[in-house]
């Protein structure tokens, strides 16, 4: 019994380490990717000098950052200034603990996973504010102010978009939500398996693949997903909602005064946040660790690409699908950044309170009625 | 006998028609509430259309009720109870009440239609329709109520509404004075009603009319003759006020200061009809002696008012006097015991008098417009638009008003084939039947002739000849050319009312009102024409009056006529007001002045007492000041010293307050938890 417990704990520790490693390595290469994407969008080459096709450019940047002097500006609140990046990074990294990285690989399978992930954002806000405040810099404080206003506002549509999924799946546990979209797992509590109700797709579980994804099972969730995506962009301070760190106005927003290692951590946290919301989006809407290919008669694409449950292959396939989908979303976020212009503050608030919030409320109502209808 | 007996009337369930009738009653109440409180927030046209359509609905419902009612049905429900006293209020639906309902709503509908155009641009318009609604509602209450108590309430409401409407243009000094006068004369008469009500309630124990009728007819309650006479006298007196009989009638001519549609309503269907209605309803209460008084008063009123109309130049006042004199006829009919004739005349009179007022009003409206237009052209004509001396020639320019007037005129003076002829003949016939009433009959016959005279005179001066205003003021020549027929909203009521004056409207027999078909014989017509000589006599007197007027009218000196003392006396209402002044008002003032002196003597005594009290108070004050207050101040001083020593603990800070609270809370916890152990 003890050994079993130990094994489970070991797996969780492993998952956490994988998560950390993923984020660290991901951040390095996603920054490279961002540069390349921006270059392609703007019809230029991007980093080309360091390494083949500039692959090592970010690594070089990282080394440079680590070497830099740890500057604390005069007049800054010393302890707060130093603690802020740690708060932000810790908050974001904690989020990965309850994220199912593979069907059986999850750091903390807590029952309130979705809820917990949303609370991460709250702590992140605090870090942003402390960072902006403690810098003792007008641009920083302005950036922090804008950031808080924006994040606190966008938390509402985000939560409501998540709530419409939670209503349908009936659980707050991310692992369950993931398994509900799995081809071969049937949970006791699940009653709502057939896409579009009791239609021709009675055997959706057997077909599997994309047909078991939440977004296909409940097609109206696409609206919720769009809201979630937009709101998560705002939560990550990504363009077109990057007014807290708008370079042309505020130099660099709340992290203007940061340099060296602390700047690297802030940067890392930002990209980690992007990945976190992408993962959450994938788990909630896009089937989580599940394959997109369905079984088509004898051509059992779904079975082939998801492995056997309980075997390491399923974990490997699951991890692969999750990460690739999440990277797809991250790529989309980058394309958004380099395509759309920045919003004004009032437009931002208008979009949140007058457009997204009502729509997401309606979506919550829709899902509630859907559940009610299915239970009848 | 026990004067405080009380009869509990049996409660009767309401029929469906009662609820319809109640709807008719409450519809104008609703209009009143809505229009009164919305006031100027809704536009004039909306206001008018709302009120008019409600009245139209009422008319339709009344017709329905009238056609549905066959035998009289009574509903009676509990009103309130105080101790052992259970007051009931009842509603009676008989062909008599419902036909009156139809008459009132029909006239009201015509007046409303007319007012929509007539009152359109007048001052204070927002209050007009609500007041009218109040008026009509109260009148319907009088018609439908079976309890004298309720009737009294509505009676007073009618008085209030008439007060409001007569003084409608209260900015005019004359209008305010006329309203006050009408109100006071009515109140004086209403006092009699109150006393009568008290007597009836005390001696019969109920005010339900139906019950009273059975009680009296079966002689189950014996009331002293003096009391019965007093009740009759008081009731008759009160109706004299409301129905404008001698000597109370002086308020009615002055009431012409109100708007013309109001006058039409007041004279035709609501105010003056109320007295006659109540008398018809309480007919069984009138003792023989009173009937004699009624006939004589009616005859005197008819004659005096008609004489006053002869030398009158105010177009509306002439009609007012004619109303007074026609009401006198009705009184005579009631006095002879022929209430159905009175009611018949009331119904026919309602229509042709409304028609007369409205057609005269159409002319006044035109005159008013001429005045307004000349104001616009910076020509200030301060003329009386009601004066018939300034009118004339409207026959050609306003033919509809003219023919409507002529029809109603014919009805009033009693030309055959018109309704007035029938009803008047009935009254004269019933007078003739009783030989003791030969003098009143003569007076009534004389009045017929005088009526024909003054009406013809008015017709001549108003509609025929030349337009004299233009002759006097050449600046009006331009306006004269513009005179044309009024708006259709004014003309339609005129046409309708003119049609209702034709005799076949009430009776297929042109000379004998034996079968009143549409009224379904609300009250059996007794008498009628007994001999062929009576109509011949009355028609010939009428013709004499008409011809005399025709020949005199053109010769009449309009402006500088010789002032005989007789005509002065007539124009001062035969000195009635002066009599009132000398008999009531001046003695009252004298008594009051005498009492003032008495009061002063009493004051002196009171003052002496007060001075004593003040003296005592000074002594008490000294004791209070130096003895008691000294002790108090000592105590206060002690408390202040103690308080100031504690006050230094409280520094006005929130936290110190919180700390005190917390200490107390902790001690309470301590005590509470000790209890638990």
């Amino acid at each position: 019994m003890r050994i079993q417990m130990f094994c489970i704990n070991f797996v969780r520790m492993l998952a956490l380490s994988i998560g950390l490693a993923l984020i660290l390595s991901y951040a390095v290469f996603v920054i490279y990717a961002e540069r390349k994407v921006s270059a392609f969008v703007q019809d230029r080459l991007g980093p080309m000098e360091t390494g083949p096709y500039g692959l090592l450019q970010t690594v070089a940047d990282l080394i440079k950052l680590l070497q830099k002097e740890d500057i604390v500006p005069y007049g800054a609140h010393l302890w707060l200034f130093k603690a802020a990046p740690i708060i932000i990074f810790t908050a974001v990294f904690t989020g990965f603990a309850c994220m199912p990285l593979a069907p059986e690989l999850i750091g903390a399978p807590i029952n309130v996973g979705v809820f917990f992930l949303l609370s991460i954002v709250s702590i992140d806000v605090l870090g942003v504010f402390i960072a902006g405040w403690s810098s003792n810099n007008k641009f920083s404080i302005l950036g922090a102010l804008r950031g808080i206003a924006q994040i606190v506002s966008y938390e509402l549509p985000l939560t409501l978009a998540v709530l419409s999924v939670v209503l349908l799946s009936g659980t707050l546990n991310l692992e369950y939500i993931n398994f509900q979209q799995h081809a071969h797992v049937t949970l006791l509590s699940d009653t709502t398996y057939f896409p579009w109700g009791d239609w021709t797709m009675k055997d959706a579980k057997a077909i599997g693949g994309i047909f078991t994804w939440n977004i296909i099972r409940y097609p109206f969730l696409i609206v919720s997903m769009c809201i979630f995506f937009i709101a998560s962009l705002a939560e990550c301070n990504r363009a077109p909602f990057d007014i807290p760190e708008g370079e042309s106005e505020l130099v660099s927003g709340f992290h203007t005064e940061y340099s060296g290692f602390r700047f690297a951590i802030l940067f890392l946290a930002e990209y980690a946040m992007m990945l976190l919301v992408s993962l959450l989006l994938v788990v909630l809407f896009l089937g989580g660790t599940n394959t997109p290919f369905p079984n088509i008669g004898a051509v059992a694409l779904c079975d082939w690409t998801s492995g056997t449950l309980g075997h390491w292959s399923s974990n490997a396939w699951g991890f692969f699908w999750l990460v690739s989908k999440a990277f797809g979303i991250v790529f989309l976020q980058m394309m958004m950044r380099w395509t759309y212009p920045r919003l004004r503050v009032d437009q931002l608030m208008l979009l949140c309170w007058k457009v997204l919030l009502p729509i997401s409320l309606v979506m919550v109502l829709c899902s509630a009625y859907w559940v009610y209808w299915l239970k009848q | 006998m026990n004067p405080l007996q009380h009869t509990d009337p049996m409660l009767l369930p309401a029929h469906f028609l009662h609820s319809v009738a109640l709807t008719i009653f409450f519809l104008p109440v609703l209009t009143f509430v809505i229009l009164f409180f919305t006031g100027k927030h809704i536009s004039t046209s909306w206001r008018s259309w709302l009120a008019t359509s409600v009245v139209g609905l009422m008319f339709i419902l009344s017709l329905y009720v009238h056609l549905s009612v066959d035998v009289p049905i009574i509903a009676r429900w509990s009103w309130f109870s105080m101790g052992t006293l259970h007051m009931t209020s009842g509603m009676v639906l008989s062909s008599f009440t419902t036909s009156m309902l139809v008459v009132v709503t029909a006239i009201a509908l015509m007046v409303h239609l007319y007012s929509m155009e007539y009152m359109k641009d007048r001052r204070n318009h927002s209050k007009f329709f609500p007041y009218l609604a109040l008026f009509i509602s109260a009148m319907i209450g009088i018609i439908l109520s079976d309890s004298l108590f309720n009737i009294f309430i509505f009676w007073e409401l009618v008085g209030l509404a008439s007060y409001l409407l007569i003084g409608f243009w209260y900015q005019k000094k004359e209008a305010a004075a006329a309203a006050k006068k009408a109100f006071l004369y009515n109140k004086a008469a209403d006092t009699a009603f109150v006393i009568a009500l008290g007597l009836i309630f005390t001696y019969y124990g109920t005010t339900e009319l139906t019950l009273l009728r059975t009680l009296i007819s079966s002689s189950s309650i014996l009331v002293p003759t003096g009391i019965a006479i007093s009740i009759a006298v008081l009731l008759v007196l009160s109706t004299f006020g409301k129905s404008a009989q001698f000597p109370f009638y002086v308020w009615l001519p002055d009431a012409m200061e109100g708007p013309t549609p109001v006058s039409a309503l007041l004279h035709a269907a609501t105010m003056v009809a109320a007295g006659i209605l109540v008398l018809i309803k309480c007919d069984f209460l009138l003792v023989e002696q009173m009937r004699w008084v009624l006939v004589w008063t009616g005859a005197i009123t008819a004659l005096l008012a008609a004489i006053q109309a002869i030398r009158c130049y105010d177009s509306k006042k002439i009609l007012a006097f004619s109303t007074v004199s026609q009401i006198g006829y009705m009184m005579m009919a009631i006095g002879t015991g022929n209430t159905s004739a009175a009611y018949f005349h009331l119904g026919t009179h309602a229509f042709f008098k409304a028609g007369l007022f409205l057609s005269v009003g159409a002319v006044i409206h035109t005159m008013h417009h001429i005045q307004q237009n000349s104001f616009k052209n910076k020509i200030y004509l301060e003329v009386d638009t009601l004066d018939i001396r300034l009118m004339g020639g409207f026959r050609k320019t306003m033919p509809i008003a003219f023919y409507a007037y002529v029809a109603c005129y014919a009805a009033l003076i009693g030309i055959p084939f018109f309704t007035g002829f029938l009803s008047k003949e009935t009254i004269l016939a019933s007078l003739l039947q009783n030989p003791t009433y030969s003098i009143p009959f003569g007076m009534a016959l004389t009045t017929v002739g005088i009526t024909a005279y003054y009406m013809t005179r008015q017709l001549y001066w108003m509609f025929l000849g030349d337009f004299r205003l233009a002759a006097l003021y050449p600046s009006c020549k331009e306006e004269q050319r513009k005179i044309k027929e009024n708006h259709w909203l004014i003309n339609i009521p005129l046409i309708v009312l003119a049609c209702t004056t034709l005799s076949f409207f009430v009776s297929f027999h042109p000379f004998h009102a034996s079968d009143i078909h549409w009224m379904k014989a609300p009250l059996p017509i007794v008498g009628g024409s007994t001999s062929i000589y009576l109509p011949i006599a009355s028609i010939s007197i009428t013709l004499i009056g008409v011809l005399l007027a025709w020949s005199m009218a053109s010769k009449e000196q309009l402006y500088n006529w010789k002032q005989y003392w007789f005509w002065t006396f007539v124009q001062q209402n035969y000195g009635i007001e002066k009599a009132v002044q000398f008999v009531f008002i001046i003695p009252s003032f004298l008594i009051a002045r005498g009492l003032t002196y008495l009061d002063k003597i009493i004051d002196m005594w009171v003052n002496a007492q007060a001075y004593l009290a003040v003296l005592l108070a000074h002594i008490v004050y000294a004791i209070d000041r130096f003895l008691i207050e000294g002790v108090l101040k000592g105590i206060v001083f002690l408390i202040r010293i103690v308080g100031s020593s504690f006050r230094s603990l409280i520094q006005g800070q929130v936290q110190s307050y919180i700390s005190t609270t917390l200490i107390v809370l902790a001690l309470m916890f301590w005590w509470y938890l000790r209890q638990l152990h």
Partner: protein, 174 residues
């Protein structure tokens, strides 16, 4: 000492220690940070008592809402760092006795009254029970609480708007 007890003591110390920091620090921002830590500790204590939903709600509401609001308050009322350099006046030190009185009352009088329950620690989650109770038995209370929140929001907004209007009117006068 079991694991759970160890964690309990750890988080208790974190909570109380951060609270003590709030009591003694002179810098508002430090106090806010310490409050963050204290509230997180309380959330952890909730989770240890089996109230995982409450723990997360504690984080979202207190840290995401109340603390951010407090930060806004700090920023709005910020004048100069020197003004926050307050010290405890000697006169006030007696006030410390009052809470001690409370603690004394509680420890001496109330603790002996508590029932001694000694169940084994259970991991059973109460999420579903909580959800069912929210939407059945406690639904009216939550409706009322929602109404209360609405009223409070409107009231606070009104106070804020009058502030803005005053600012504007002052600006016009100048």
């Amino acid at each position: 000492m079991s694991n759970i007890l160890f964690f309990f003591i750890f988080f208790s110390v974190q909570t109380i220690g951060s609270a003590v920091v709030i009591l003694f620090t002179r810098n508002v921002m430090y106090a806010v940070t310490a409050l963050l830590s204290s509230l997180l500790g309380v959330a952890a204590l909730f989770v240890l008592a089996g109230a995982d939903v409450l723990g997360v709600i504690q984080i979202i509401v207190y840290i995401g809402g109340v603390l951010v609001l407090t930060l806004f308050g700090v920023m709005y009322t910020y004048q100069s760092p020197k003004r926050y350099q307050e010290s405890i006046p000697h006169k006030k030190s007696v006030f410390i006795l009052i809470p001690l009185l409370f603690v004394l009352v509680l420890l001496v009088q109330a603790l002996p009254l508590l029932p001694m329950i000694d169940d084994p620690y259970q991991h059973a989650s109460k999420v579903e029970v909580t959800g069912m109770l929210w939407l059945t038995e406690y639904l009216p209370i939550f409706e009322w609480i929602g109404f209360l929140l609405l009223v409070v929001l409107i009231g606070a907004g009104w106070i804020g708007s009058t502030l803005v209007q005053e600012d504007k009117s002052k600006g016009e006068q100048v």
